[in-house]
Assembly symmetry: C2
C-alpha cells in the first residue's frame, strides 16, 4: 500500500482553524522546558554492540545516572510531512549530560530515510538548550518507522507498575499485548534505560496509528479537547498534541518520564477508536540510536478493556482485532541492530570520547578521511564531510 499520496493531501490542522499560535513553520513546535538536575555517568567503559566505527567506553546502567546531569525536557515535535499545515503529536524529552567529554561524531546516516533539514521556531525553544540539534527526522516523517531495535546503546523502555492494585487504577500494562491501557490525562511513568549515555542524547515520543490506512496521519487531539477553555489547555502551547510529557524523575537505574495521553482512543474526530502506539526513539542530533514501540489504548476502564483484549487474544480472535483496529500488537521482539548497509548500520550514531583537544582533532581528521574514502558519492557524503570540516574549523584547524 502506498501512503506517499498523503503528500498531496490538503489536510489542515485544527490549531489553525482555532486560531492557535502558528509560526511560519507550523509543523515544528519543538519546545524545551526548564532543565532538571540529574546525575552524570562517572566513568566510561568499553562499548558493546556494533563494532564498526565505534571507539568508545561503556558505562554500566547502574553507574549511568550516578553523577549530576541535566535531563532536558522537550515538548512535542511535529514532523515535516511534505504538505502544508499538518503537524504530528510528538514529544521528545531529550536526556542530556552536561559534563560529557567532547566527542567526535562518527555517524552513519541512512540516505533513504525521510530526513528533513533542521529548522526551529525560536520562540518554542528554551535558550539553555542548543535546540539546533533537535530536528525533524525520520522519527517525525510522514510514515515513522515502528521497527523496534535496541541499538548499540541498548535502549529499552518500561512502563512503571501502578501502585494502585484495584481494578480502577489509572493504567495497566499488558505484557502479552505489549500494550498500555490508560485513562485520559493520567500520568504514566515510563522508565528508559540507555547504556553509555551521552550528553546529547534524548528520547522522542511520537504517536502513530497502527492501522496502515491511518499511520501516515498525525495523531492530534480532537476538537472537544482542543477547547481553549479546558483547564489543562491554559498556559500550554501544544494543546493539539495527544502525548504530553509532564516531567521527568531522576533515578539510579533508569530515567523516568511521565507521559499523559490527552485524548481517549475513542475521541470523536480525533483518534476515533483507531489503534494507537507510541514510538520512542533514542536520538542524538536527530539521528536515531534505538527505537521502542508500545501500543496504547486510552480509555475509561483500563482494567476491563485489558482483560477483554487479553481474553480475545487467548481465544485467537486477536488477529482479527489487531489487524483491523489495533494494528500489529507491537511485537516485543527486538533486533539489536538497525538495517545493515555497505558502510555499516544505518540510523545510528556513535561517539568517540577523547579527553584532549589534539586527539579530538586527530580523530576528526581520520573520520573525515574515512568518509571521503568509504562513503558513496551523494548528499549524505557531503553532509558528513561538512560535519567534520566544521569540527576541524572550530577546533582551530584553520590556524596553520
Amino acid at each position: 500500500m502506498d501512503h506517499t499520496n498523503g503528500l498531496n493531501s490538503n489536510e489542515t490542522t485544527p490549531d489553525n482553524r482555532l486560531g492557535l499560535p502558528s509560526g511560519p513553520l507550523p509543523n515544528d513546535q519543538s519546545l524545551l522546558i526548564p532543565d532538571v538536575v540529574m546525575h552524570p555517568p562517572p566513568r566510561l567503559t568499553p562499548p558493546v554492540g556494533h563494532p564498526s566505527l565505534v571507539h568508545q567506553n561503556e558505562v554500566s546502567l547502574h553507574q549511568q545516572f550516578q553523577g549530576n546531569y541535566y535531563l532536558h525536557h522537550q515538548q512535542p515535535n511535529p514532523h515535516n510531512q511534505g504538505f502544508p499545515v499538518s503537524s504530528q503529536g510528538a514529544q521528545y524529552p531529550p536526556m542530556m549530560l552536561q559534563n560529557g567529554n567532547p566527542s567526535i561524531l562518527m555517524n552513519t546516516f541512512n540516505p533513504m530515510a525521510n530526513y528533513t533539514p533542521a529548522y526551529q521556531q525560536a520562540d518554542n525553544c528554551n535558550s539553555e538548550f542548543n535546540n539546533s540539534r533537535i530536528v525533524e527526522n525520520q522519527a517525525t516523517c510522514e510514515l515513522p518507522s515502528m521497527e523496534v531495535f535496541t541499538g548499540n546503546y541498548d535502549f529499552h523502555v518500561n512502563v512503571a507498575r501502578t501502585l494502585d492494585d484495584s481494578k480502577r487504577s489509572a493504567w495497566e500494562f499488558s505484557e502479552v499485548l505489549n500494550k498500555l491501557f490508560v485513562m485520559e490525562g493520567r500520568n504514566v511513568p515510563m522508565q528508559f534505560k540507555v547504556k553509555n549515555i551521552n550528553p546529547s542524547m534524548y528520547v522522542r515520543a511520537v504517536g502513530i496509528y497502527c492501522d496502515p490506512d491511518s499511520s501516515n496521519k498525525p495523531v492530534l487531539r480532537c476538537p472537544n479537547h482542543l477547547r481553549v477553555d479546558e483547564p489543562l489547555n491554559i498556559d500550554y502551547k501544544f494543546i493539539d498534541h495527544v502525548i504530553r510529557c509532564n516531567n521527568q524523575q531522576p533515578g539510579s537505574e533508569y530515567v523516568t518520564v511521565l507521559y499523559a495521553m490527552m485524548c481517549r482512543s475513542s475521541c470523536i474526530s480525533g483518534i476515533n477508536r483507531r489503534g494507537l502506539a507510541i514510538v520512542f526513539t533514542l536520538e542524538i542530533e536527530g539521528r536515531v540510536l534505538g527505537r521502542q514501540v508500545i501500543a496504547v489504548r486510552v480509555c475509561a476502564s483500563p482494567h476491563r478493556d485489558r482483560m477483554l483484549e487479553e481474553r480475545r487474544l487467548s481465544k485467537g480472535e486477536a488477529s482479527a482485532l489487531l489487524v483491523k483496529n489495533e494494528g500489529p500488537s507491537v511485537p516485543n521482539g527486538v533486533s539489536a541492530d538497525s538495517p545493515s548497509d555497505p558502510i555499516g548500520p544505518l540510523d545510528q550514531m556513535y561517539f568517540v570520547p577523547v579527553n584532549n583537544c589534539d586527539d579530538y582533532v586527530v580523530l576528526a581528521r581520520l573520520a573525515l578521511d574515512l568518509v571521503k574514502k568509504d562513503y558513496p558519492e551523494g548528499p549524505v557524503k557531503e553532509i558528513e564531510i561538512q560535519r567534520y570540516q566544521s569540527i576541524l574549523n572550530t577546533m582551530g584547524e584553520n590556524q596553520h
Copy 2:
C-alpha cells in the same frame, strides 16, 4: 429551586471562543431566509375560543391555506438571558400572510413575562420581512415556559409519520412519551395547525433542557460539531444552533416545516446526554399565542431507544428516568388558555379584521380607550397606549 442566579453567571458561548461572527448583540441571531409562496385564507368566519377582546372572523383549517401567501422562514433566535454572550439555539420560522387585511391589534400582554425590547441585527434579516416584529420575548428568556396551551388559535404541532417502516428509520415518534427519537442531522417534518391564521404569525422553535438544573442554559452545539470545516457548517451562519430549520412546505391542512437536530443528545460538552425538548410557540410581534412542547432524543438508533424508553415507562421505571435525565415527559395534556389575569388571558394576541380604513381607525380608538380605562398603571399600559397612538398616527388621525 431558584434559577435566577443564572443571571450572574459568567457563561460564554463557544462561538465567541471559536471566533465565529458575533455582532454587537451576540444574543440576537434572527434570520429570515427567502420567502416561499403559499396560499392565503380566502375568507374570514367568526372565531372560537377566548371571548374577551376578540372580534374576529374564523377561517377553517381546510380553507386556511388555499390562497397564495408567503411563509417566511426565520432562523434561530437566541434569547436575551440577562448575562453576557450567552445565546440559545432557537429557531422560529414565521408564517406570514402577505395579503391579509389590516387588523387592529387587541393585545393582552403579560407584565410578568421576561420581555426584552426588540432589537435586530440587520445583517441577519431578510429585507422582505419586517423583522422589527421578531423580538426577544419570554420564549427566548433564560427560563422559557414549557407550559402547553393551544390558545385561541388552536395551535397544534404534529410530527409527520416516517415513510420508512424499517427499524432503521431516521426518526420515530412515541405518542405515549410525546417524544421524538431522531438521528442527528436528519430532517423531520413538523406539521403545524393554526386556526384563524394571521399574516404576522410565525412559529418559533426553542430547544430547552428538561432537567431544571440545566433548563436555564442555552442548548448549543458541541465543540466537535462546531468545527468550521464540517460540510454542513459551510455557508451557514448559525452553526452553534442545535435546531436547524431546513425549509417549509405548503399544504392545505397544515404548514409543514423541516427541522433537523444538529447534535446528538449524547454529544460531549454539548447536550451531553441531557434530556431535551423543543418548545414551539405560535407568536405574533413577539407575543405568544400558543405553545407546544415535544421531547426529543437525538441518537444513533431511534427505534431501539424508543422501544427501550417505552418499555421502561410501562415497567414503571419511567419516573426515575424522566425525573433525572429526561425531565417530565412533556405532558400531551393541553390547556386552551394561558394563565388568566384581571384584564383577560395573558400572552395572547387577537386581531380584529376590518375591511376599510375608517372602521380601522374607529376600532383602534376604542381599543385605546379600553386600555386607558381597564389596564393598571405601569409600563405595559404605556406600551399599549403607544401602540394604538402609533396606529392612529399612521392612519392619518393627525390630519384633523
